[in-house]
Amino acid sequence: MESRYVIVGLIIIVLAASFMVYGVIVLSDRIVGVALSVSTIGIVITVIGINYSEPAENMLREYSVDLEKFMTKIIEDMGIIGGHKIKLCYVQKALLYSDGDIPCSNVIVGIGMVSRAPYIAIPVEGMLSILQQFTDLGNLVDKLKKVFVDILAVCRGITVSTEDEMTVVELVDLTNRGINYIRTPINPVRLYLITTLALHYSRDIEVVEEAMTYESYKIKVRLGDTIYG
């Protein structure tokens, strides 16, 4: 969606409608006719704004849907799904799904096993670098709003708090897009959320608890002890 087009289109439609009404009142068919032409432009621009998307974005979205199915199957086949732990390892630049508590120092990207506990580590180097350019300035709430409200548009508000020495982030007033993303097993919103937190705190991030309602998504994370420079 391109909101500037939607706004411009709606303004043009309103202006055209005003002129149309004026044309009807003063009984001028030419004014009504020109207003109809202008309203056509307004409708076209509004539709462009609502349905706009980059062509590459559509193709990449389909690719990421296929990848997500593959990742979900891998995690299921490894028996990790269900009571798995999720951790973002800052130095290793990897998102770790594991059955047990595996220290980040033992993890390499890919599929592996540590002390008979299987794990899968997904690389997040690309995500870290793209989030770096969006989150260079501001406090944590500003960074989260920039990513999740302005860019991803998965929610309309964010709160950050501390509970039992853990950080709690809540995305409130979820959009339909946000709800659809959060429902998936891989959940890219969670992925981006803990990556943003890892970038902000320069620490490993472990997901402790998650809760989702129709209105909000709440995640409680534990910060790693070590701060990486």
């Binding site: 109809l36 032409s37 539709v47």
Partner: protein
């Protein structure tokens, strides 16, 4: 200027230009302005595919075609009467 911006601006200019021409020609039928605008939209998007590359215009196209058909049908019935 982004490609789609150029497409939208050109389409707007064409429609406004032809609307002004119709005013100069003393055209007093409002549906003539609307049908010319719709025709210009289809002609422009057929020649320059920039807008369609970035936007799914399927429902817009269907709606505009239906409006155009309604205008033509109304005029034909008017003439036959």
């Amino acid at each position: 200027m982004a490609k789609i911006d150029r497409g939208v601006v050109l389409l707007t200019l064409f429609i406004m230009l032809f609307s002004i021409l119709l005013v100069i020609l003393d055209e007093s039928r409002p549906d003539a302005y609307l049908s010319v605008s719709i025709l210009l939209y289809f002609i422009y998007t057929a020649i320059d595919s920039t807008i369609k590359r970035y936007v799914n215009t399927k429902f817009l196209d269907i709606g505009l075609v239906l409006i155009f058909i309604a205008i033509v049908a109304f005029r034909v019935i008017d003439i036959l009467r």
